[in-house]
Amino acid sequence: MNEIDLLHNLKQLKRITPREEFSRQLRQTIVAPEPTFSPLFRIFSWPVVAPALIAVFALAVVFVQLYTAHQQQSRVLSGLNNEDILSELASSGDINIYLNEIAYYDRADQKISTALAEASGDGID
């Protein structure tokens, strides 16, 4: 075989090619396209933004809880206001009846005590 034929035959080796499936799979492996995310997702996927937002949300929850607890406490305490209690009772007639009864029984007790004391003093010698 002369050199020209040899070189021509060597050129035939260009027919040796990789399997299409192999080439395609390897290409996909190497140059796999990046997934497309919306800009909003990309912002929230930043390593700084997400934790910051979580912290803000947690603080907001704590603040709301504290505020709610404070409001409830204020309502309870405001219910213990003496002026309010007294005015409430005064507006009701029952307290006067109770107070009069107490005074009556108090006087009755005193009379009974006095009578007993006199009776024991005049007692049989």
Partner: protein, 188 residues
């Protein structure tokens, strides 16, 4: 005829260095068959050639940022990676080139234009190439199959151009001898 890329290779390399996967994809499309052929002629096994080829391109993509173009063509860089990958492959497996593997491989080509005569010619030349030394095979594929110039080949093989020319000459002489021997055996 030299196989020039149909895209701006320098631009693709610069973009790939910055992490642009699409640009590296263009480089891959242009070089995958060349690198595969280069590796296949050295290992003479389709499976091994695919494994090594995969390693070559993964390594190239991972290390392309380190590639510097100054006086060092991208093709040479890629062929050097391929060469080192085959050396590593030999270090681990130490395969022997099996000429019997050539026939089943050629049978895979179902292309109707690949006529029987051409198939036999490719088989004959591959058997002769398989008998060359490792470096002679490299030079034959890069110079006479892929049409690289001597500077590119020298860079890839880490030799000077004079050494490359000597290798080419010896490779061609040996090929003529091996083909003639095969023809004599066939005719006998």
């Amino acid at each position: 005829m030299i196989d020039k890329p149909s895209f701006d290779e320098k631009k693709a390399v610069q973009k790939a260095k910055k992490g642009n996967a699409s640009s590296f994809g263009l480089l891959y499309d242009h070089y995958v068959s060349k690198i595969y052929r280069f590796v296949f002629v050295k290992v003479m096994s389709r499976q091994d050639a695919e494994d090594i080829c995969q390693q070559v391109f993964l390594s190239a993509w991972q290390n392309i940022r380190a590639y510097e173009e100054v006086g060092f063509p991208f093709s040479s860089w890629l062929y050097r990676i391929a060469r080192n990958a085959v050396i590593d492959f030999y270090r681990l497996r130490r395969p022997t080139v099996n000429i019997e593997n050539i026939e089943p491989l050629l049978a895979d080509y179902s292309d109707a234009s690949f006529a029987i005569e051409q198939g036999l010619a490719v088989e004959r030349i591959l058997r002769a190439v398989a008998r060359l030394t490792d470096e002679q095979r490299e030079v034959v594929v890069m110079k006479f199959v892929e049409d690289l110039d001597n500077e590119e080949i020298a860079r890839a093989l880490e030799k000077n151009e004079g050494a490359v020319r000597v290798l080419q000459h010896r490779a061609l002489e040996n090929l003529k001898k091996f083909v003639a021997d095969a023809d004599r055996i066939r005719e006998a």
